[in-house]
Symmetry: C2
Subunit: 183 residues, 2 copies
Amino acid sequence: MRAVAIALVHYPVLDRGQGVVTTAITNLDLHDIARSAHTYGVTQYFVVHPIAAQRELASRVQSHWTTGSGARRIPDRSPALAILRIVPALADVLAELDGPEVWVTSAEARGAVLDYPSARSRLAEDGPPVLLLFGTGWGLAPEVCRQAAFQLAPIRSPRADGYNHLSVRAAAAIIFDRLLAPR
Amino acid sequence: MRAVAIALVHYPVLDRGQGVVTTAITNLDLHDIARSAHTYGVTQYFVVHPIAAQRELASRVQSHWTTGSGARRIPDRSPALAILRIVPALADVLAELDGPEVWVTSAEARGAVLDYPSARSRLAEDGPPVLLLFGTGWGLAPEVCRQAAFQLAPIRSPRADGYNHLSVRAAAAIIFDRLLAPR
């Protein structure tokens, strides 16, 4: 089984007009995604943000839950928040993982996508760690997607009207379950 | 296909010492679970809270996103928040759905559980609507679980140490995907 790490990208991502922007860190993205990631055995959860003050905020949230009063009040959160790595750029993630195989996620298919059975098979083979990228805002910028080995198939809605507006927290949990749940 | 509704219960639920308590409403539970629920075709999302001031808070969040400035800023959220029903007690949910088949969810198995393939088969049959119950805090009180027709199988962690601390938002998203994703 290959190691799986994830990164939540705050730059470069799209806004609703398809412009490339930097988004703000959402507190709940740190907790919820860390708890889901650790539950499913993800090795590291990178939070990528180019602005130092935003990284400092994320570090303080992490410390609260790993060594501060939050760790004493709800100790179950500590191991989850301990997998958080707060870095300025995607290049730092790629360097720390020493050349992972990058898979991007998106609510929309752009060209060929990797379906979930195939993705599970790839994870069962030998190989470098897989880095799953999640975008904030309206999704990862095309320049990030172009660097990826694969795009995971979008999560499809069963609705006739196709309504599909999952939060990144919900999408991440669903994707971990599809890729990593015991069978 | 049977209709599926859900309820997020704030009373009676357990605290970490297994006492029965009332929990506070978490803003993100309203948004995230509404977005996930509507994406997967859930018909109603009941938020059950016995305290009027808490219900008022939830109503104001809902109005913000369905008719207020939030609806104008991010119109995609409106249909999701429109399925929210804010009620004082579980009895109100059962009455509104006219006797649904109640399925409870839990992070721990208590006796026999309904696995996901069987659950999907049951949903494909004719029958009354299914009401999925989610607990806040440390989970639904035993008196709620005893009223249920079924307990859905807990979501298992693939980890050797069994670490499993999903947020209710993540657990709900995963369960919707397992039960309702197109195949």
